[in-house]
Symmetry: C2
Amino acid sequence: MQTTVRSASKEVTIAPDRPIVIIGERINPTGKKRLAASLAEGDMSRVRTLAEQQVANGAHILDVNVGAASVDEVALLPMAVKAVQEVTDVPLCIDSPNAAALKAALDVYEGKPLINSVNGEEASLKRVLPLVKEYGAAIIGLTMDDSGIPATAEERVAVATKIVERAEALGIPREDILIDCLVLAVSADQTAAKTTLEAIQGVRDQLGVNMTLGASNVSFGLPDRENVNAVFLAMAVATGVNAPIVNPTHACKTIMAADLLLGRDEFAMNYVTYCRRIARAQKG
Amino acid sequence: MQTTVRSASKEVTIAPDRPIVIIGERINPTGKKRLAASLAEGDMSRVRTLAEQQVANGAHILDVNVGAASVDEVALLPMAVKAVQEVTDVPLCIDSPNAAALKAALDVYEGKPLINSVNGEEASLKRVLPLVKEYGAAIIGLTMDDSGIPATAEERVAVATKIVERAEALGIPREDILIDCLVLAVSADQTAAKTTLEAIQGVRDQLGVNMTLGASNVSFGLPDRENVNAVFLAMAVATGVNAPIVNPTHACKTIMAADLLLGRDEFAMNYVTYCRRIARAQKG
């Protein structure tokens, strides 16, 4: 199963036998005071910087999220999409729960984007899936619904199945759906990561779709978060996630090694090239 | 399935629902000039130091290997076992292909050791399994035979099955067998790690035995070996390895995070305690 997204000039394909696709998570004001402040003033300079940095550090797709309590997303999201398109040529993942903001951003996007996200709630399915169909986009489906995030892997697979069926009923092809099995902080619930890994396995076996994962939450509240994130990312991609949403600066070395170990890096060329580039960058 | 090994005063249990057991790999002269030189002189001081260091860094069991071209293993292996028993109280993994050396070491060992190793070769099975039975030891079975290391996961599972059947026929209980699915350098063969992960899955599903893995070879010839080893270790323990043979100094932080993520560390106590200990040690 192949998911293809495009910018005006670049195509990125997500598929189980291809190298992992890195979706950069950093254009998101949650917990980032400097970005939040500049967005509140309609200033896109920080968005541009984060876009350029993430692509330089290995991102293949950039998530663009401007959501904060005080901002007008309908005005800001298309501004941010345009700003990122000005400085990078990678495809974008347009991230908002607000259908009007999504529509405004889709109107200025050049290519075939990812939309982040729909979930199993009736209201979400009715609001987002028609936009996905209308704009010919690809979509991230979150395994949660009106009752929140299900406690068991089986229930999450059931929500994923519902999303896929509802999308297909509207004529959205299955290959344009990425499922995110969601992970909660393991500090609060020690079975959280295990449940997510089981759900990933279930989605892979039963639906065969490509998968993303916002993986950094897993380490919330723990010491040495980067270590926990790296170990979880290695487990998640070995289980079936092939387009994780991560901070590329931290995740890239794990992902390059994972591709090599999963047999997707002939002659270890990508890994060796990556290590040389990092060594050069560290020398100055 | 529970594998229990013992020193004179300490018991270690390997089981799928328990925290990962770390077998320290460093008492092995291969590639270690200083250890090789001291062993050649019958000097056990370096062996003692490596034993103490590894236990301080988190090893639960220590592998003891003195094999080198010029040494008399029958004399040296029991000396090394005694030296390690003098300075640590963890159970040992007695490591030699030489049956006479194994027997001499078993004679001085206090407790129930692991023996490393038997493989699927007829000569190996006949030489080693009777010793395992006679001394009531546990045994590591390597998935290789007269034709070398099989290229496919299925063939490795078949060798593991043969070892388990031959051991059981001698009255060695299945829970006293750890299987090592073996991993070759991924720099030489980019499918090497993937094949091993598939074999681990197969052994878990079909035999249900506990598993070890000498995991550090996978990164031979690559830059940033520690990164490749950590990512592979995370994948291997998520797939079913629960007593890897590793350098505890490098592997411990990956293993502590893996236990937490696999739901084996209630309230994240072990991980948090470990991080605090490392932080204190780094401060001086």
